[in-house]
């Protein structure tokens, strides 16, 4: 479980996150949704320690993460996996080397053991016969799946996904969502997904937090979100014509 208490973050005097308090539960896909520029990515990067926060507390179970020094944070970070918006695969390494990288850096396993784990992770995300390809030779969906394989290679307790569906066509986006949900439930991971894709919300949103202008505006689950009276939330989720028709249908 990850607990965020009164988190505040600003850049050059501009407040991006204002008094954010959330609990992200274990074994569930916790979604952070909001418009572009609402502070979702800053929140995610603040939780994982890529941004120094101005004030507040970030707890990983009973460990106050934001007060740890570099070495102590490093230990916790080995229990984290992260899927970045642009996949962030290392260009100079092949698919196999990318997935093996965390194992090379943080385990004393033999090459055979590492390769076994790499192949298991790649099979888990349905990547076959691509071990020797470079990221530039992969499609967007494949890159995301390899990035998930890399994120789970060290058997993480926490998985962070920043816009996992951005740039993907709907079938691929659904595939990635399903994969994230399956992995979360299978390995009892605390997963936080940052998205503004309503398909993801409906597909995998166990716990949902809506952020607007750096503040938490609404909290609930995928069943409650369609019936909410929160105007700002409704403006966000029913922004397009199709969604508006869906809303009318739901209300009827």
């Amino acid at each position: 479980m990850i607990t965020v208490k009164h988190l505040e973050k600003s850049f050059n005097g501009h407040v991006v996150l204002n008094d954010i308090s959330i609990i992200f539960e274990t074994g569930k896909t916790n979604l952070i949704i909001g418009r572009s520029g609402s502070g979702k990515t800053v929140l995610l990067k603040s939780i994982v320690g890529l941004h120094e926060i101005d004030s507040g507390e970030i707890w990983f179970e009973d460990i106050l993460f934001n007060k740890l020094d570099f070495k102590e944070k490093k230990k916790i970070r080995q229990e984290m996996g992260m899927l970045f918006q642009g996949s962030a695969l290392f260009d100079s390494l092949t698919v196999e080397q990318n997935v093996r990288f965390p194992l090379d850096m943080f385990t004393d396993q033999t090459l055979e053991e590492k390769n076994e784990r790499v192949n298991f992770c790649l099979q888990r995300v349905n990547i076959t016969n691509a071990n020797n390809l470079f990221p530039s030779e992969l499609s967007g969906g494949m890159k995301k799946r390899v990035a998930i394989a890399r994120a789970i290679s060290l058997k993480p307790k926490y998985l962070f996904c920043d816009e996992p569906n951005s740039g993907l066509d709907p079938p691929n986006a659904i595939l990635i969502d399903a994969l994230i949900k399956e992995i979360t439930e299978e390995y009892l991971i605390t997963t936080i997904v940052n998205t503004h894709d309503m398909n993801s919300v409906i597909e995998i949103g166990t716990n949902i937090v809506f952020i607007n202008e750096g503040k938490i505006c609404w909290e609930g689950n995928k069943n409650e979100i369609l019936h909410s009276d929160n105007e700002v939330l409704n403006d966000f989720i029913f922004a397009n014509a199709l969604a508006k028709q869906l809303k009318m249908h739901v209300r009827k």
Partner: protein, 247 residues
């Protein structure tokens, strides 16, 4: 002034991160071998071409500017040797490498920054500065002096080829000239300069790439800055080192 001092401070803080204890020495060793190939070995061609023509031009210019019966012709060989060893093979080669290697380092690390690959390393708990920069520094410190020695040999060869083929000096006189009053310390001086220049090129370029903020435009700007700042620092340290080592 404050901006300059801030950048200066950030540069040294980055170096502190770079020279911290490596997580997995074996991974760093593999990375260093990779950099030796890309930053060092792949620079042999450009170094050889530049050195050959540099040696040729030095010989011809020395010959045409010392056309006087009181000067023995072997002085052309001597002039060519000393110019190449003392200045051209270290400083000019370093300036060329600042362009080739410096821009490559800055754009590689800068692209990794804007595509979140450095964030991915940090997320995993890897010291990204050390993992990305230390192998590059070690590789250039090891290989650039070799490039200097290669440049000296090829430069002198170029001088001999141009001098003899243009008929300004005989082969025997040129060879006598390059052996005459040879001071071995000049080689030490040249290699010492190149070690310092190698560190400047790699660390300054890595610094420019590591702190890129933005997109492809900023990566391009960082690459340009890397070449400009490295070149200026090379010229500045050339003066300082010459005063320190030859005075």
């Amino acid at each position: 002034m404050i901006k300059f001092l801030t950048q200066f401070g950030r540069y040294f803080l980055l170096l502190k991160k770079v020279f911290s204890r490596p997580e997995k020495p074996y991974v760093y060793y593999k990375q260093t071998m990779h950099e030796l190939l890309y930053l060092g070995f792949y620079s042999v061609g450009i170094t050889a071409i530049i050195s050959f023509f540099m040696g040729a031009v030095i010989t011809l210019q020395t010959a045409y500017n010392t056309e006087n019966p009181i000067y023995p012709t072997y002085l052309i060989g001597l002039g060519c040797r000393d110019s190449i060893i003392l200045e051209f093979s270290s400083t000019i080669t370093a300036l060329i490498l600042a362009g080739k290697v410096g821009s490559s380092i800055a754009s590689e690390i800068g692209t990794m920054r804007v595509t979140e690959q450095i964030d991915a390393l940090e997320m995993m708990g890897v010291n990204s500065a050390s993992y990305l920069i230390l192998p590059k520094i070690i590789a250039t410190l090891l290989f650039f002096p070799i490039l200097t020695l290669l440049s000296i040999c090829i430069g002198i060869l170029g001088g001999w080829a141009a001098g003899t083929s243009a008929g300004v000096i005989t082969s025997a006189n040129f060879i006598y000239g390059i052996q005459y009053a040879f001071i071995p310390y000049y080689i030490v001086y040249s290699l010492t300069k190149m070690l310092v220049f190698a560190f400047i090129i790699t660390s300054v370029s890595s610094f420019q790439g590591y702190y890129v903020d933005g997109g492809s435009l900023e990566v391009g700007r960082a690459s340009t800055k890397a070449v400009v700042f490295s070149s200026v620092m090379i010229l500045l340290f050339n003066v300082v080192l010459t005063q320190l080592l030859l005075s």
